[in-house]
């Protein structure tokens, strides 16, 4: 049985009528066609589906739609403004933080969350902050550089 659910996604008010236990990941991808949020494992291990829910980093594969009712969501589609890359996106692009790109949306949101908490993070804080987002391509070194450069750009 479906339940009406309302939330704000990337600044836009949205209503969907979905089963209350439908994964937020599927609501975003199937009902709202926001396919930038990726599924990697479906069990909260890889972070490819990470989004910001009321400013907190969550794995949307583990969040039932009902839990998102009334919340404020930010997905990768909401990070840039009018086609202008956010500094985090720009730094990932320049420093080789994205290779195959499948972990990139989640990684960028995790970085967003990290820099909100620590505007000038240490390497340990970056390693810890991104430990819930798996990347099989980069070995993380280019990602660390991207995050450091983004921090320097946003909070010099």
């Amino acid at each position: 049985m479906n339940t009406p659910i309302q939330f704000t996604v990337n600044g836009n008010r949205q209503s969907v009528d979905v089963p209350p236990m439908k994964r937020l990941l599927d609501v975003l991808r199937e009902d709202l066609h926001l396919t930038g949020t990726k599924e990697g494992c479906g069990e909260g291990e890889c972070g490819a589906c990470a989004v910001l829910l009321n400013g907190e980093l969550v794995n949307s594969c583990l969040v039932p739609a009902l839990q998102a009712h009334g919340s404020r969501l930010c997905t990768i589609e909401g990070v840039s403004t009018e086609g202008q890359l956010h500094p985090i996106q720009q730094c990932f692009l320049e420093r080789g933080g994205a290779q195959c790109g499948i972990c990139t949306p989640g990684m960028i949101l995790a970085t967003h969350h990290l820099l909100d908490k620590y505007p000038n993070p240490t390497l340990e804080q970056i390693q810890e902050g991104l430990a819930g987002n798996l990347c099989r391509c980069t070995g993380y070194m280019r990602i660390f550089e991207s995050v450091q450069q983004a921090a320097n750009t946003i909070s010099p």
Binding site: C41, E45, E94, A98, I102, Y140, R142
Partner: protein, 791 residues
């Protein structure tokens, strides 16, 4: 505007990078076609047996489903690789767990889960073999019940997909030389080494969407498969047999691919064929995407291996002769095992001079899902054994690991074990010197020896020296006969047409750099077409570290050809501006309708290779490397951690420093996982830990700083002097790390993955391990802080 700075060797933005950081790149699961259905696979629940009956649960309305069985296949029931032993769908017998038996499709994806469970299959079980040793025993004992693979017309024998026998010279002379070497040796050093299976663990699972059209008689007229893959033309080839259609009626399109590492080399032929058969049956486009559990349980992994070394050495540390016996576990069907074994064989003698060597190699059949391609492709297995063995030899004869290698390195003008003359510069001595300096190896060796006496954390350093051949083995590139087109479009922008795919490594970017550099145009002007086999020619598969060197060289030659045409026919000057190029190209197009250069592979130098004797020029070019690992082994937790990693390599011209570093770091991270974290747990052929929760790959918090260093010695084989680098970084980390662990603890571990429980077992028991290390346990080495359990 003529370019002032060379673009090859600079780091322009990744071509498709903007779409990726925006989350706008469309992977296969982000795509949908009108009227699309979803597909699922009914798989074997046992390892080996005869299918007795298939029944369908009465509570499900099967009218709503499309069902495909082996008998529905219009052409041959085979996923063709090197032989046709591998069925697309099991007909009467299954040979491994998760073997596909039936396919189902339904408009609603959520209906499929219950439907898959609603197909009941009964089997008459047969005994299975699950290890190399069990497979060998069946052959030795003539145990007909356990001969699980009959042989093939492509050189396979009972339970053995392929064997190679490689000699460093003429067979009789080498055998005589070996006998004399072992007679004269001051030391004979023997050991056995093991490596485990490894999951590619691309973050995007396998997935495809297929379409199928029929003619007026209801026969399949053409099929189209789009999806996540490395080698579109491999899928075309598979479809031609499944549907009995000509190549031009089987269209394959690669879409943005979320990691591959070899795991999407051969497997897309399976899932692509399945989706196309369902599309044929239901008359709608069909999407199949695996979830993580299915992807890990049912798709290919790196081949487990066992390597035995026996080496004759003089007391001054010269290798006099050696025998190497390599065995890999191929799983239930031959798939790519013969070629993986080939690379394992050729890399097994490493970067050393062997007066006499014999390598015997075989790929055995087991009732496990077929193992397949994974970055390194056999070389990580045999180089792990070799580089552990070199440390054992050094220890046995009383030389340092460094000195032993220095006395045996290949150099310019030497011949490799296959007899290949190294006529391009090779300087392993310098690479070793620099790698040890960059990593402060000698200083750490001394410091850790002192500090370890007073600490429960034992620290150590170790290294591995190795090489990796770029391109297909031997005559492979000649047989591939790769073709590249370069078009100049109406607006004067060049467009590269290749089947070489981008899956994170940077294909799009580096090929555009090559064209920009050669055509003297801005990088931003160069386009690269989506790999769609109805548009792009077959430039070969995107594997074997061949794209930069082989396909890059073809793009360079095609660019030269365009320039030659425009200079000859349109008076384009030797040094031209962008505007002059566009004007010349448009003028040419106005007269001729189009402007295209097409070039085929030609070896840069004469390449000789004998497939029978395994002698000659094994690879056009090699990348050479020395990797140094620093480790800490905590004797409270028995956890070994890499605390710093230095990777030095000579790879010819570095085309794009940012991408190249990313390739090396990513490969090293996978190598660290291979050595210390990633263990496939098997039970009767089935992977038991097919989840990211319990198959552990390194996270950002697990990895040490990885320092990447390049030496650049331009090669004639690649564009601008580049060589292949993609697989190289997978080869060195595991032996370097286990060498460092031996340095830290005094204990020789010769099996990977090496988990804390394995270290615990060795430390807390004085028994010999089942296989591997032969060093005696030496409590004095551990100093005063022995763990409680053994103190």
């Amino acid at each position: 505007m003529s370019q002032s700075k060379p673009i090859l060797g600079a780091s322009p933005l990744r071509k498709e990078g903007r779409a990726k950081v925006l989350g706008a790149a469309k992977y296969i699961d982000d795509q949908s076609l009108p009227g699309m259905w979803h597909g699922a696979t009914v798989r074997s629940s046992i390892a080996r047996g005869i299918i007795c009956s298939i029944t369908f649960a009465p509570e499900i309305d099967w009218e709503q489903f499309a069902i495909v069985r082996a008998s529905d296949i219009p052409g041959e029931n085979t996923i063709v690789h090197l032989t046709k032993d591998h069925p697309c769908l099991a007909e009467s017998q299954v040979n491994h767990p998760e073997e596909p038996i039936l396919l189902l499709a339904h408009p609603d994806k959520t209906a499929l889960l219950a439907a898959v469970r609603g197909v009941r299959i009964e089997y008459d079980e047969l005994p299975g073999v699950f290890t190399i040793e069990e497979s060998e025993a069946a052959v030795e004992n003539n145990d007909a019940e356990r001969i699980i693979w009959p042989g093939s017309d492509a050189g396979g024998t009972a339970n053995c997909f392929k064997q190679y026998l490689m000699y460093s010279g003429e067979a009789n002379e080498t055998e005589d030389g070996l006998a004399a070497a072992f007679e004269a040796a001051d030391f004979i050093v023997e050991e056995e080494y093991h490596t485990g299976a490894q999951e590619q663990l691309y973050i995007e699972n396998n997935g495809v969407i297929a379409e199928c059209n029929k003619d007026a008689l209801g026969n399949v007229s053409d099929v189209c498969v789009r999806g996540s893959m490395q080698c579109p033309y491999y899928v075309v080839h598979a479809l031609t047999l499944i549907f009995n259609l000509p190549e031009e009626k089987c269209r394959v399109i690669q879409v943005e691919t979320g990691g591959a590492f070899g795991g999407k080399e051969d497997f897309p032929s399976v899932i692509g064929s399945h989706a196309a058969l369902l599309a044929m049956k239901c008359g709608h486009p069909v999407k199949i995407t695996y979830d993580r559990a299915e992807d890990m349980a049912a798709t290919t992994k790196r081949h487990p291996s066992r390597t035995r070394h026996r080496t004759a050495v003089s007391k001054d540390g010269k290798l006099l002769g050696g025998t190497i016996d390599v065995a890999i576990d191929g799983g239930a069907y031959a798939t790519l095992s013969p070629v993986v074994l080939s690379r394992a064989t050729i890399h097994s003698p490493g970067p050393y001079k062997w007066p006499h060597i014999r390598v015997r190699a075989k790929a055995m059949a087991t009732n496990i899902p077929p193992h397949g391609a994974f970055r390194g492709f056999g070389a990580p297995q045999s180089l792990f054994a070799l580089e552990r063995h070199m440390d054992k030899i050094a220890k046995t004869i009383g030389l340092t690991p460094e000195e032993l290698r220095r006395r045996n390195f290949l150099g310019t003008g030497d011949r490799t074990a296959t007899g290949q003359l190294l006529n391009e510069p090779v300087d392993m001595q310098h690479l070793l010197t620099r790698a040890l300096q960059e990593s402060e190896y000698h200083e750490k060796l001394a410091r850790f020896a002192e500090e370890n006496k007073h600490s429960t954390i034992k620290r150590g350093v170790g290294f591995a020296s190795f090489m990796h051949g770029a391109g297909f083995t031997g005559s492979g590139e000649r047989r591939l006969n790769s073709l590249v087109h370069l078009d100049v479009l109406e607006d004067g922008r060049p467009q590269i047409l290749v089947s070489s795919t981008e899956f994170g490594q940077g294909t799009n970017t580096i090929l555009c750099q090559v064209a920009a550099q050669t055509l003297q145009l801005p990088y931003e002007d160069i386009l690269i077409a989506q790999p769609d086999t109805s548009v792009v020619p077959n430039s070969g598969p995107t594997v074997a570290s061949r794209t930069a060197m082989i396909v890059g060289k073809l793009v360079e030659r095609a660019s030269h050809q365009i320039l030659a045409t425009l200079r000859e026919q349109e008076d384009l000057p030797e040094e031209h501006t962008r505007e002059q190029f566009i004007a010349a190209a448009q003028s040419y197009r106005a007269k001729h309708g189009s402007l295209r250069a097409s070039v085929r592979y030609e070896p840069a130098t004469k390449i000789y290779w004998d497939d029978e004797l395994y002698r000659g020029d094994a690879y056009p070019g090699y990348a050479w490397a020395v990797y140094v690992a620093e480790v800490a082994v905590d004797l409270n937790t028995y956890m070994a951690t890499v605390t710093r990693f230095d990777a030095l390599q000579e790879v010819g011209l570095v085309m794009h420093p940012v991408l190249a570093k990313g390739q090396i770091e990513g490969g090293v991270a996978q190598g660290i996982g291979y050595a210390l974290y990633e263990k496939c747990v098997w039970k009767e052929g089935r992977m038991m830990n097919n989840q990211m929760t319990n198959y552990i790959m390194p996270t950002s918090a697990d990895l040490p700083p990885i320092h990447v260093h390049f030496e650049e010695v331009p090669s004639i084989h690649g564009p601008g002097g580049a060589k292949g680098i993609g697989e190289l970084p997978m080869d060195g980390p595991a032996p370097a790390i286990l060498n460092a662990i031996e340095n830290a603890t005094g204990i020789a571990f010769n099996t990977i993955p090496l988990l804390p429980e394995d270290i615990f077992e060795r430390f807390t028991s004085f028994t010999e391990p089942a296989h591997g290390g032969s060093e005696d346990f030496d409590p004095t080495h551990l100093g005063e802080f022995l763990p409680e359990a053994v103190a």
